[in-house]
Amino acid sequence: MALIHDVMPAFELFQPVTVADTLALLDKYKKSAWVLAGGMDTFDWLKDRNKRPEIVVDISGVKEIRGVQATSDGGIEIGAGTILSEVVQHPLVKDKYPILTQAAEVVASPQIRAQGTLGGNVSQDTRCWYYRGGWACYRAGGNICYADTPSAINREHAIFDADRCVAVNPSDTAPALIALDAKMVIRSVEGERMVDAEKFFIGPALDITRMTVLQPGELLTAIRIPATWAGASFYFEKVRERQVWDFPIVNVAAVFVVSDGKIERSRIAVNAVAAHPMRLTSVEAAIAGKPRNEETAKLGGERAIQGAKPLAHNEYKIPLMRNLVKRAIRGQTA
């Protein structure tokens, strides 16, 4: 644990204005470079001195990765550097994918949304208070999970896929992007690769020190949402302790295409229950072809929590996740 908090230490700062320059810097400094966009995840890491990068690459001046535009296939592309409040207000998003508008609108607080970016919201590190408090846990390179000891307070931690680490992914926009089958555009000096949103997020079993597939030298530049689910039926809900400036205890995002009163196809994702947002394919399969009613909702909710394992303080998250999935399928809160 660092002795000093709330005082940012010195580091070398680069402020490139093009993607090309950014990638060159990230390539040059690889692991020692830290990408800074809105700073909402970064600043407390730096100020509390629990992470001490030597090089900070501030991409807030890179205009190429800001803004929302329509794509030729009828979808949209959102620059990773787009400020969340711009995402919230953008008519294209609101028109085609109001589920993303909703998700972005419940992130943190108005001040944070005016500063934080969409790319940052999906790339952010976990909020586990042990890990972020500077405890030398597995995720921080140590050999213990402090959030899973007999005395640990873990009411906001994982009920799925714990593997040494029980932290959760706190993003509100991530499940919406998974539900929309978004593609993450990742660039490096080597070129560009595209990753399904669903595969962008990783759990501790794959790499305990990272939350996404992003490697040193890589930059998330854009998020493409295909036309596939435009105009579908959407559901988003976030449950939190406080109605502003709080991370989700659980959130759910779902899209449905219903025809003849039956669910033709759907994609459902939840977050804050594991180290990565979870797409619930078994629920999607179970409800396919069924009417969108209470009975199907109940079935989906029960299916969603199969395999959930509570910690000492978070058993309540299991009924919460079940109920949220149920509500998503039912299509209304009450």
């Binding site: 002795l3 000891t149 307070i153 449950v239 400036w245 058993e315 919460l320």
Partner: protein, 827 residues
């Protein structure tokens, strides 16, 4: 009374600066050559410093000085606590106790995680921080305990080497028996002997006659004060005087304490603090030990020094409300009268002086229900957690939020309406309450109108109709309405007022009260203006800077200002009036009694055009000198007032006097409150649809200010019920929730959608204008009403501790039985 100013809304003199951002907190000041200090905090909950090696840090360019524990004095705090404890408690077996050393500014034996060990002053904050990182401190870990029950457990650890439990002012070791501990494991406290105890009547006999008995163990959490302004301070020395920009609740009372810690005479301390970002009891005079750090570093370096306190640091040294767990047994007659109240409280005390909350918890219960027979037993257990201190309604808010749901439960069992049962047990003026003195006598209420407040509230809230919604489901949402009664102490006496009528015809009102946002520094000034019939735009309030010569006003705390300082200003105005009449008689003949005042003149009764103006009288006062312009003052004034009067003597006609009006009994305010909630049983989230409170706070002096206090206090209380808390990992003794976010004070979207208020506005006959303080009872009111509404929605049995989070509601609804965290503290 037909007042011109009292009871009327007005714009306070500080509002323009606040709205335009010109008002400054301590941290906003700069001085030439100013250095910045940074603290090294304890990384352990209890340890001993074996050695400090600062050589690397001191070699750094820009580093000026280090200050360690050896260089700061120990200043004993005043003794607090209401419990009538015996020196030798029942479990001490005659063992001698050890006094706990007072809280220092810096220490070599840290007793909580985050306690300041040393400070470094450097050219800028980054250099100071980097220097701290190069200091090597060798800590020897010591046993610790952050949960009082774990400390009482057989074989449990002690938080202090001196002991684990307070017996009066001494610490001793107390461990419960295995049998007692079995009770704890079953979710109950043992009703055993305790160090602090008092009783009225015979509870054991009374229980035998009870028709209904409630027996529950309930808990209320610790919360940090979370003032908008952390306790930053900046100090410099000039000509032997210490100039201190600090965030202090009070002004006149603080010089002495800052002086003690900075090792300088009170007379050489200038406190500058005209705008303070909240106090809530956390910035009382005895809590300013950390101002010694910039003061002594400034002395050492010969440069001004700024110590900025961060939000996280403020969570460590910024005071907090004491958490407690209580077993309570209440016996009721069939008609709803509480005939027996037996309470057993364990308080997490923190590591230093005894916090009075658990004792006050009993007094407030006694005042709320006036039980015929009552017994209090309490244990203050030392813990390795940040120091507790009064937090707005200390002990009272906890009392309300823990007791009031149980009263609702009793009402339901008895088949009596929840408002009625409160009216049946609530006090009236003159009734006795609280701790018996040695002769068995108890204090009584100077005035008490809780029944009127409950009645008016019930009518305004449409209680009888709305109550029918309890348990009603709308989709996944269930409704609940709650009522609560809260009370708290509401005023002190015996302070000084000082005002000057100037030759320009202005009225200067000097006030040693602090400006923490309650407006009472101005509200009380308006009492003097009212008495002298002065238009408000010709009045100037002088506050917030001890170099401006302020009188010994009441402290700004304990809801005492509107009572204590309005009385003092009333006395000062009476003194000024007497002098006006005397001057008129001297110059114009007749006796002083022949003259009246009004319209800024002193005139012969019946002839308002005669006499002289206040301005002329002020000129005469200066010419006459002596007692007329403050060169001579009454001997019973406080020394601080005497010094200030001397400094401004000769500037006009001075009214200066001590409040000698006296009173019989204790002043207590009441708030009846009502809330409606809607709980979503699928998510555990709940909305507070509506909140109404009705205050019995005597005469209303400033309606808009009163609204601010009633609603602001309610929101603080709602935060207590909903979400605000500490979280500790017991194994390591380290806090996990350290800043705003995880401490979770309520956000603007968590407060009631609709809030309304009213006041019974009946004067307290034992105080000149009849006003009683209100800021503190307002907290319990918010906490209690929402807590009771939740119980009405989801059931009496589901919740027994605060804060009531989503986890508790959802887990209990799912299991159809109470699921919480047992009696563990800080989870």
């Amino acid at each position: 009374m037909n007042y011109k100013l009292i009871g009327k809304n007005y714009q306070s003199p500080d509002i323009t600066a606040k709205v335009t951002g010109k008002s400054r907190y301590a941290e906003d000041y700069r001085a030439d050559g100013m250095l910045f200090a940074k603290l090294l905090l304890s990384p352990m909950p209890h340890a001993r410093v074996r050695s400090i090696d600062a050589s690397e840090a001191l070699k750094m360019p820009g580093v000026h000085a280090i200050l360690t524990a050896d260089e700061v004095p120990l200043v004993a705090p005043p003794v607090r606590g209401n419990a009538a404890a015996e020196e030798e408690g029942p479990d001490s077996k005659g063992a001698r106790g050890v006094p706990i050393k007072p809280e220092p500014a810096l220490t070599n034996e840290p007793v909580f995680y985050g306690q300041p060990i040393l400070a470094v002053a450097a050219e800028d904050e980054v250099t100071a921080a980097d220097a701290i990182e190069r200091i090597k401190v060798d800590f020897e870990p010591l046993p610790f305990c952050v949960d009082p029950l774990q400390s009482l457990r057989p074989g449990g650890p002690n938080a202090r080497l001196e002991g684990n439990v307070y017996y009066s002012t001494l610490a001793k070791t107390l461990k419960w028996t295995e049998e007692d501990w079995k009770e704890v494991e079953a979710g109950r406290l043992p009703m055993r002997e305790a160090p602090d105890t008092w009783k009225v009547g015979d509870v054991d006999a009374a229980f035998k006659e009870a028709a209904v008995i409630i027996d529950e163990t309930v808990a209320s959490q610790a919360t940090s004060h979370q003032c908008m302004e952390p306790r930053s301070s900046m100090a410099y020395w000039q000509n032997g005087k210490l100039f201190m920009h600090a965030s202090a609740q009070s002004t006149a009372h603080v010089g002495q304490s800052i002086g003690n810690w900075a090792k300088v005479d009170r007379k050489n301390v200038v406190l500058l603090g005209d705008y303070v970002g909240g106090g809530f009891g956390g910035k009382n005079p005895e809590t300013h030990m950390h101002t010694a750090i910039p003061a002594l570093l400034a002395k050492k370096t010969g440069r001004p020094v700024m110590l900025r306190i961060t939000r996280e640091e403020d969570n460590f040294i910024g005071r907090s409300r004491a958490g407690m767990v209580m077993r309570v047994r209440m016996g009721f007659r069939k008609d709803g009268r509480m005939i027996a109240l037996d309470m057993f409280v364990v308080q997490a005390n923190g590591p230093f002086a005894r916090a009075g909350d658990y004792g006050t918890c009993a007094v407030v219960a006694s005042a709320n229900y006036t039980p015929v027979n009552m017994r209090f037993r309490g244990t203050a257990v030392l813990t390795n957690t940040p120091p507790h201190g009064p937090q707005r309604g200390p002990g009272g808010a906890q009392s309300t939020v823990m007791f009031e749901p149980l009263l609702c439960q009793a009402a339901r069992k008895l088949g009596i309406d929840e408002v009625e049962i409160r009216k049946i047990n609530a006090p009236t003026t003159g009734m006795a309450f609280g701790v018996p003195e040695k002769d068995g006598e108890r204090s009584h209420f100077t005035s008490a109108f809780p029944r009127e407040a409950l009645e008016r509230g019930a009518e305004k809230f449409n209680w009888a109709e709305r109550k029918k919604r309890n348990g009603h489901m709308r989709g996944t949402k269930v409704s609940g309405v709650g009522v609560s009664l809260a009370n708290f102490t509401a005023g002190t006496i015996g302070f000084d007022g000082m005002i000057v009528l100037t030759p320009e015809g202005k009225l200067n009102i000097y006030s040693g009260v602090g400006n923490i946002g309650t407006l009472s520094v101005y509200d009380t000034a308006r009492v003097a203006a009212e008495m002298l019939d002065m238009p408000w735009d010709k009045c100037e309030v002088i506050w917030g800077d001890t170099s401006k010569h302020l009188p010994w006003s009441s402290r700004q705390g304990g809801s005492q200002t509107i009572h204590g300082t309005s009385r003092a200003n009333y006395a000062a105005a009476a003194d000024a009036k007497q002098k006006l009449q005397e001057i008129a008689a001297k110059d114009l003949g007749g006796s002083p009694d022949d003259y009246a005042i009004g319209n800024q003149r002193v005139f012969r009764k019946g002839n308002p055009g005669s006499g002289m103006s206040y301005a002329q009288a002020a000129q005469r006062a200066i010419a006459l000198g002596g007692r007329f312009d403050g060169h001579e003052v009454a001997q019973d004034l406080n020394v601080v007032t005497k010094e200030s009067a001397k400094a401004i003597a000769g500037t006009g006609l001075m009214g200066v006097a001590k409040d000698n009006y006296g009173r019989k009994g204790n002043t207590q305010s009441f708030v009846a409150s009502f809330a409606e909630v809607e709980v979503d049983v699928e998510t555990g989230e709940y909305k507070i649809l509506d909140y109404l409170c009705v205050a019995d706070c005597g005469t209303v002096v400033n309606p808009r200010g009163l609204e601010g206090q009633l609603h602001g206090g309610a929101i603080q209380g709602i935060g207590h019920t909903r979400s605000q808390k500490w979280v500790y990992d017991q194994e390591y003794g380290i806090p996990l929730a350290r800043r705003f976010h995880y401490n979770r004070p309520p956000s603007i979207l968590d407060i009631p959608e609709k809030m309304d208020w009213d006041a019974v506005n009946l004067p307290d006959s034992q105080t000149p204008i009849g006003a009683k303080g209100i800021a503190e009872a307002a907290v319990g009111a918010g906490a209690g009403a929402v807590r009771c509404a939740l119980a009405a929605a989801i059931g009496d049995d589901y919740v027994r501790r605060t804060p009531v989070g989503i986890d508790m509601i959802l887990a209990s609804v799912e299991a159809k039985q109470r699921v919480d965290r047992g009696l563990t503290f800080n989870v």
